[in-house]
């Protein structure tokens, strides 16, 4: 049980680092680390399929896309980087305190588990859920992907000077 | 013609007709004016035809049940027919007057639409037997008065229109909350059902207070009266129709309809309301004596005379109630006439400040004489109708034992004489400050003379309105 706690703490530190990290690259790395930690957690909570998804998609694919996108962007000059980091540091200096405070309160109150979760370990694994139970949501995912694509087209396409 | 169809015609003709008027207005100006007059006078004629059946004690009523208790009920009892006849007569004369008055100004279509719609909603309100539809027509008149006060579209005018609209709607909302309290007790909005439930039991004070706030704001009595003088900037037929003769009578009518014919007020209110009325009468009479703008003086005088009507209704004496009903008729005629004369003077001399006017009697004799006649009727000088109504309101105050209030109203009546004579002298007598203006249009002067002559006729042949009012009071008090 304590390993889970440690993993959770690691995850929070990684997220804090992503948020407060100076350059975008560091932020993507931080994101990748959090995904890895989450997938390890999932393994521990014996839901392997979800963990595999998490690892491959979030840690792998998304990080690659982010890194490629960032590489296209003109990197900040050193001087600007310092200004940006100082500004971020100033803005988020209270964030860690806040997180710790929240952790203490949660711990102190103690999330009550006064009931026995009944259906956690349902037998069917991800595949059956995905295809048989939640087929309609697939439809939803398709629409979201289309919306995302359209959004990218609308927002980021330069307006050709006709 | 069965009474039911007459009743339906009185209400529906102006309401529906109002929307035809602007359409016809596109075609021809003249036709639209005549059409507007036709709609208004049809409802007048229909209400006249309703009088014999009302007098015979038969209450014709139309009821269509709607969900949630908002059923559409029209009852033509004596009080309703009396109010309908009075307001539709005054409106038809005013519409006749506005043919020549409004022709000088833009957006005339909207004017006629609103005036005819106003009369329609007035008829609806007067005949409605259900609190919700009473409230609907009440708000409809507030919308109309908002559009009409802002008729000249100047910035200040629109500001005043909004002020009037806000104050009256605030009062209406308070009244709606009062209605809901009553609905809570009786479970229905129909006046007859409410009347049964409140046979002996006095109404909860909170409901009375809230409804009173609505009534006082609509009839411009003391705490809520400032919107009426400010609305003096509207065109004269509007101020005549809305702020003198008909709109301000709505509050008083609802007071009679609710607090006299439907449920009974307990004794404390019969002392409190006259006090409010007394302060309002004195304050507005004082203000009228000091004010210099012609229309504002007359508006303040309306506030003061409305307080007299409230006195009559609220003193729990039968003679007072009959007196107030007569007062509504006489004051409507006279005050309408005063505002229309003010309109003629204002249109010809382009001057509103009475200190800069004078000597108009030489060039506008007929207007001056009718103005004087209406002034006498408001003061209560005998051959004119105002005398009987003022006497009976006084007698009502005295017979209900409140002699102190009667003496304060005596002082109010003296102030009335003072400011009305001051007004007449400043406008028509004395030397003219170079502003010599003739009264151009025959139509306007004849409508003003109609008012003066009818006031005189009401004074001399007081028997007919008196008996009608007395019968209405007997019917209201359930005797």
């Amino acid at each position: 049980m304590t390993i889970n706690i440690i993993l959770l703490i690691a995850m929070t530190i990684a997220t804090l680092w992503t948020v407060m990290g100076r350059s975008l690259l560091k932020a993507t790395l931080g994101l990748a680390v959090t995904s890895v930690v989450i997938s390890v957690l999932m393994f521990r909570l014996d839901s392997p399929m979800a963990a595999v998804f998490e690892l491959s998609v979030c840690a792998g694919l998304i990080t690659i896309i982010f890194v490629s996108a960032i590489s296209l962007v003109k990197p900040l000059t050193h001087k600007e980087a310092i200004v940006v980091s100082k500004d971020r540091m100033k803005r988020f200096r209270y964030l860690p305190l806040l997180v710790i405070l929240f952790g203490v309160i949660a711990g102190f109150f103690g999330i009550p588990n006064d009931f026995k979760p009944i259906y956690v370990a349902l037998a069917n694994d991800v595949r059956t859920v995905l295809w048989s139970l939640r087929q309609f949501d697939m439809f939803g995912q398709i629409v979201i992907i289309i919306a995302g694509a359209l959004g990218v087209v609308v927002l980021f396409r330069e307006k050709e000077k006709r | 013609m069965k009474n039911e169809t007459l009743l339906l015609l009185t209400v529906s003709v102006p309401v529906v007709g109002a929307f035809i008027v602007p359409i016809v207005g596109r075609v021809s100006e003249k036709l639209r004016n005549l059409l507007a007059l036709a709609f208004v006078s049809t409802s007048f004629i229909c209400s006249l035809c309703l009088i014999p059946s009302a007098l015979s004690g038969k209450v014709t009523s139309i009821a269509i049940a709607f969900p949630l208790g908002f059923n559409f009920v029209l009852t033509a009892d004596c009080l309703a027919v009396f109010m309908a006849a009075v307001s539709s007569f005054i409106s038809s004369v005013i519409v006749l007057y506005s043919f020549d008055y409004i022709s000088h100004y833009p957006n005339r279509d909207e004017y006629y639409l609103m005036v005819v719609l106003f009369l329609g909603s007035m008829m609806g309100l007067v005949f409605s037997g259900n609190l919700i539809f009473l409230y609907i027509f009440w708000e409809l008149t507030a919308i109309v008065s908002w559009r009409l006060i802002g008729f000249f579209r100047e910035k200040h005018h629109v500001l005043m229109a909004d002020k009037a609209f806000l104050v009256t709607v605030f009062g209406a909302l308070a009244m709606l909350v009062g209605f809901l309290f009553i609905y809570q007790k009786t479970g229905s909005f129909d006046l007859l059902v409410i009347k049964e439930n409140f046979k002996g039991v006095p109404v909860p004070d909170i409901a009375v207070l809230l409804i009173l706030v609505g009534i006082l704001s609509k009839s411009a009595t003391l705490p809520f009266h400032t919107w009426l003088p400010d609305a003096g900037i509207a065109p004269s037929p509007v101020t005549a129709l809305l702020h003198a003769a008909v709109l301000v009578k709505i509050g008083v009518y609802v007071f009679a309809r609710l607090f006299i014919s439907t449920f009974s007020l307990d004794a404390a209110w019969h002392v409190l309301i006259p006090i409010i009325a007394a302060t309002s009468a004195l304050v507005s009479a004082g203000a009228a004596l000091v004010e210099t703008d012609m229309k504002r003086v007359i508006a303040y005088s309306t506030v003061s005379q409305i307080a007299f009507i409230f006195l009559g209704f609220s003193v729990n004496a039968e003679i007072g109630i009959v007196g107030s009903l007569l007062y509504i008729l006489m004051h409507g005629l006279a005050k309408g006439g005063l505002f229309l004369c003010a309109g003629i003077v204002e249109q010809n001399t382009k001057e509103r400040d009475i200190t800069k006017m004078g000597g108009l009697i030489a060039t506008m004799p007929l207007t001056a004489v009718s103005f004087l006649a209406c002034v006498f009727s408001v003061m209560g000088v005998p051959p004119f109708g105002g005398f009987f109504s003022k006497y009976m309101v006084f007698s009502g105050a005295v017979t209900s034992g409140q002699v102190g209030i009667a003496v304060t109203f005596l002082f109010g009546a003296v102030l009335t004489i003072l400011y009305l004579l001051r007004l007449f002298n400043h406008i028509f007598l004395g030397e003219s400050h170079g502003k010599i203006a003739k009264e151009e249009s025959v139509l306007m002067v004849s409508s003003v003379m109609i008012f003066a002559l009818v006031s005189l006729a009401c004074g001399i042949y007081i028997k007919y309105p008196f008996l009608f009012a007395q019968f209405a009071t007997k019917q209201m008090l359930g005797m």
């Binding site: - | 004082g286 203000a287 051959p383 009987f388 006497y391």
Partner: protein, 615 residues
């Protein structure tokens, strides 16, 4: 048929007035003829109706209000007197108003007010009496207004004063209905204790306002200058007196049960004596013929009120007799004033003088009526004043003293007037003045003759007109006609008159001309200060009342502006404060939105958990 004969006194004059109204202005002769014929017709009618007891009533309206007329001795007498004087005045004004532009309007108003006075006197219901009573406001305003360019101010003043009086009357009538439940004058018997007292005060104020006594008198002197002269001769001199004193006597005799030693009669007597003394002293110092006469009209009312106020048979008979006498000589004096004004062109005593030679008939009529007003023995004024003095003496010496002072000053002022106008050598150059036209002289001569007749043979008016009003039991079996019984009083009166003559002689010798005969009184140390103040309207209740109401209305206007301020400024300020607070919630930075949302979620969750678990 007989009953609606009673309507004729009201309908005939109104019909005549409307007929004249129809005629265009230039048919002057026709208008004069119609008005004369109309008034003559009414005179005949009233003579015919005089001795009859009739009553007529339309179906009652409700709440005691009904249009009911009742002709009995007293109202018949008043209608007859009114018709008689209207006829004479119309005859007089046919000549007087010849070149005036407003003559048509004047006749219309005259006939209308005659109709109103007949209506008021005949009506047996308080409200229908009030209806006609207040109707006279309009004709009063109309008649003064047509007098001249500037006269509308006085017309307004008269209207307001009379209006206030009538409103008090209206309230009084309402209280009477409240107490007794009926408005029929003949059936009313109200004790004057408590609310009844208030009713008496109000009705009495209405009556004396109409009669033109002290607190409500100030419009009459102004009207003397501004209003057309026939108006002064007919309304303040006769109509007002007739109607006012008629109603006052109906109040004190019929409507209220008043005993002689009650506070009500005391107030009446005080008002009467004050009016006598103050009005006549004001008259003394006047420099204008008509203003002097108008002040006398006010002081003579004081005698009537004093007489009726004593509630002693002698006093009441004296008061009523004085009423009819006063109407006679007062209107005749005004007619002489009119003649002087028409012929000499002015009524200002400084410019008048030596008219004796040129207008002998007017002079003779003036002497007769002046003598009768000052109470010189053979004339009617003497007998009625004696009766009033006898009544006053019975009730208290102070009232008798006031009557005597009044007599003295009246005599002095009329001596001054006669001397200044007729006897002094003429000051203005326009010497060749002709005598007034015959149509003006006839009414003067007729009335002067009547004054002599009512004086010498006073049992005729007393027995025929006055005494039947009180009826035998109230008179206590005494007959007041013939020589006054109390010879002591007669001696005192004669001595007073001689004193006035001596004082006049002394004044003339001291100050040179007749006009300045009363200078020594005018400039006496204390009196001069009061006279100057009174002359420019300092004590004028009308001005005081106006100032009070203007002051009140200024305060009321401030209060009204304060309420308006609340709407225009205060509510907007308050809403601005709240709006600023409400808008501070989203200041544009998304961070604050996030914080607000999270805090609110926390609050909601805690609230839900606490209350759900707790429940």
């Amino acid at each position: 048929m007989l009953t609606n004969v009673l309507l004729l006194p009201i309908t005939v004059p109104t019909a005549a007035a409307l007929l004249i109204l129809m005629l265009p202005k230039k048919f002057r002769a026709a208008i004069d003829a119609i008005s004369l014929f109309g008034s003559f017709l009414i005179l005949l009618l009233s003579i015919l109706l005089f001795k009859r007891n009739l009553s007529y009533s339309m179906p009652a309206l409700g709440f005691g209000i009904e249009f009911s007329l009742r002709l009995y001795h007293f109202s018949g007498f008043i209608v007859l007197a009114a018709a008689f004087f209207v006829f004479l005045i119309t005859l007089y004004s046919n000549a007087f108003l010849r070149e005036k532009s407003y003559s048509k309007q004047f006749y219309v108003y005259l006939l209308l007010s005659l109709a109103f006075i007949n209506g008021a006197v005949l009506s047996d219901n308080l409200v229908s009496m009030l209806f006609f009573w207040e109707g006279m406001l309009i004709t009063l305003f109309g008649m003064i207004y047509i007098g001249g360019k500037r006269s509308f101010k006085t017309a307004t003043k008269a209207f307001i004063i009379a209006g206030v009086g009538d409103l008090c009357l209206m309230l009084g009538v309402a209280i009477c209905f409240y107490i007794s439940g009926t408005l029929a004058i003949s059936k009313l018997h109200i004790p004057i204790s408590g609310i009844g007292g208030a009713a008496f005060i109000l009705l009495m104020m209405g009556a004396i306002a109409k009669a033109g006594s002290m607190p409500f008198h100030t419009w009459i002197p102004d009207a003397a200058i501004d209003a057309p002269l026939p108006f002064m001769a007919i309304v303040p001199a006769s109509f007002e007196k007739l109607l006012g004193i008629y109603f006052l006597s109906r109040i004190s005799l019929d409507i209220f049960e008043m005993s002689p030693d009650s506070w009500a009669s005391m107030t009446l007597m005080i008002i009467g004596s004050i009016t006598i003394v103050f009005a006549v002293s004001m008259a003394l110092i006047q420099k204008n013929y008509k203003r002097l006469l108008s002040y006398h009209a006010i002081s003579q009312v004081g005698y009537m009120i004093l007489g009726i106020g004593t509630l002693v048979p002698a006093g009441i008979v004296g008061g009523l007799f004085h009423m009819i006498n006063n109407v006679m000589y007062k209107s005749c004096l005004f007619l002489t004033g009119g003649a002087v004004e028409k012929q000499a062109g002015t009524t200002d005593l400084e410019k008048l003088g030596g008219l004796k030679k040129y207008m002998p008939v007017t002079f003779i009529c003036y002497v007769i009526t002046a003598a009768s007003i000052s109470g010189v023995p053979p004339f009617n004024g003497f007998f009625s004043k004696e009766l009033v003095c006898e009544g006053a003496l019975e009730r208290g010496f102070i009232f008798y003293l006031a009557a005597i002072i009044g007599a003295f000053l009246t005599a002095a002022s009329f001596l001054k007037l006669g001397h200044a106008a007729f006897l002094d050598k003429s000051k203005n150059g326009k010497l060749p003045i002709k005598e007034a036209p015959i149509r003006m002289l006839i009414p003067m001569i007729a009335i002067a003759a009547l004054c002599v007749l009512f004086g010498v043979w006073n049992s005729l008016p007393l027995k025929l007109f006055i005494q039947p009003i009180l009826g035998q039991e109230r008179l206590g079996g005494r007959d007041f006609s013939g020589m006054p019984h109390n010879s002591l009083l007669v001696v005192i009166t004669i001595m007073v008159l001689l004193g006035a003559l001596l004082n006049h002689r002394y004044g003339v010798k001291k100050h040179g001309s007749g006009l300045k005969a009363a200078e020594h009184i005018h400039h006496a140390p204390v009196l001069s200060y009061i006279f100057n103040k009174a002359e420019n309207g300092y004590f004028d209740p009308y001005n005081i009342g106006l100032n009070i109401s203007y002051g009140f209305s200024k305060v009321a206007f401030l209060f009204d502006r304060a309420i308006d301020w609340v709407y225009n400024v205060f509510i907007i300020k308050v809403s601005k404060v709240f709006t600023a607070a409400a808008r501070s919630l989203n200041d544009g930075s998304y961070k604050s939105y996030i914080i607000w949302s999270l805090l609110a979620t926390g609050a909601v969750v805690i609230f839900l958990i606490k209350s759900m678990i707790g429940a």
